[in-house]
Amino acid sequence: MSTHWDELGIVIGLGVAVAAIGFGAARWRRADLNHLEEWGLAGRTFGTLVTWFLLGGDLYTAYTFVAVPGLVYGSGAFGLFALPYTVIIYPLVFLTMPRLWQVARNRGYVTGSDYVRDRFDSRFFALLIAITGIVATMPYIALQIYGIKVVLANMGISPEVALIVAFVVLAAFTYVSGLRAPALIALVKDTLIWLVVLVAVIYIPYKLGGFGSIFHKVEQAAAVAPKAKAKPDVLPGTLFGGYSTIALGSALALFLYPHSLTGVFSSSSRRVIRRNASFLPAYSFMLGLIALFGFMAIAAGVKPSKDFGNNSAIADLFQTMFPSWFTGVAFAAIAIGALVPAAVMSIAAANLFSRNVWREYVQPRMSMRTEASISKVASLVVKIGALIFILFVPATDILYFQTAGGVWMINALPALIIALYVKRLNTLSMMLGWAAGIGLGTWALVQEKFATSLHDFGVGGKIYIGFAAIAVNLAVVLLGSLLAALAGRRSATRLSDDDYRARHPEDLSLTGTRPPVTQPAPGTGG
């Protein structure tokens, strides 16, 4: 394939602009970036609009934009589970996240594991949850780079050098600006993505003769294909169980991820979170439209690529349909789209490391400034690790890690969500439930050779492995806690009811402006 210089020029131009914004972000809402709550959470000051852009850019990742249409292109209707998944997630967010936000704000938590540590008075359980988060996040970061790689390869340039350049820049501005950088870049990224998707969803069906004609072609192709290879546009009965369990399981897992919690904790009030539970579905609608590109790729006769299989469906579709300058804008949107979640994820993983590993086990008495430095360095290490991962591990293996990541992450549900509401949870049972869920999930993944996240457990056909894992986890937690309660044993906690209530005067007032959250770090003079 020859190099597409015009596409490349647009991507480079927009890339430079984004890097400038990333470094400039350090001056936005200026504060002491040597404090972890400022570097890692932007001082918990983000209002409704910035939170909308940040969480939208953070959760609906570049990889999602490549993988969802790829899945629809490769297997048809099943890939649309992204829709129910990203609809039912918001009632859950509306209910649970404000409560978690409040306790985090009251007690100065930066990570979910900070909460677990106090809730169960156990730094070991907090470590387990932190490790779950870090392990689930690493391949997710790698997949963002994979999204860039698909796009770069489609432009006909060797991806390795470009990837390294993009990542050095990303690592540098994250180090300097912290969470402020992805928040500002998200504004650019999302504007581009919205532009591209809205143009494409009108223009491509127009060129393919309308949606009627697209689905007619998809159905014709499905009718003549052998059953195992058919890509139906309506879900077949054999996949009902798998469809609803993967939608529910993915919804339960998404807001447990460290990068989701970072986005939630950085918002300025419970009201901001509740409003966003109503505004963020705009992105779900967009994701649904992007999923339809998979059907359009089938109708347009796009062939799977040698290097990336079904995942290059959307890139190939755009290249066939659009003039090259617009393809350049679209590819830039995907590439920039990868930088936002990669930055937030590396910050979130780094915060877990500095707070719940380093502070707890290595240097308990470090200053605020040291803590922020450890996080900054850890964010670099995480990104270098992800880059090495993507350059040396075959892409298919990384996809498997991601599948496994979701199955593992869901096991943090009892510790991060159930614990908000149920007081008499037994800490030992929590850890056993976690181990049982991870164990069962990993066992089932091995049975499926990590190639799919569905497994037949002998109940209701093929279901989502993460769903079975959390069911077992919850059963152990509830049974164990019940037994402990009957035996009259109470687990320790450092939290009281009051810790879940709004207690800062500015959290209660409806008009007052809020003073900065952070205290001057010792030795920095503020």
């Binding site: 649309l80 509306f94 879900l235 009902f240 469809y243 209530r501 959290d507």
Partner: protein, 74 residues
């Protein structure tokens, strides 16, 4: 601390039950996995789920307005 939080209780807690609607509407594909009726050529299975994105917004939006919790802040 200024106002004790307990002095202004949350209103409209009943509305939270509405949040269950999207789950009922979407988690049983048996109800909607069919091609007809189509909407300008798009199978029911697909446009029904898109409609629920709007439905979900209406539900959370309604609950947001009905339920007032003074602790939610600005």
């Amino acid at each position: 601390m200024s106002t004790p939080p307990s002095s202004r209780p949350a209103r409209g807690r009943w509305a939270l039950w509405l949040l269950i609607l999207p789950f009922i509407g979407l988690l049983v594909p048996n109800w909607y996995a069919r091609a007809e009726p189509r909407l300008s050529g798009i199978p029911f299975f697909i446009w029904y789920q898109f409609a629920w994105v709007v439905g979900g917004v209406l539900v959370t939006g309604f609950v947001y307005f009905v339920r007032r919790d003074p602790e939610d802040g600005e």
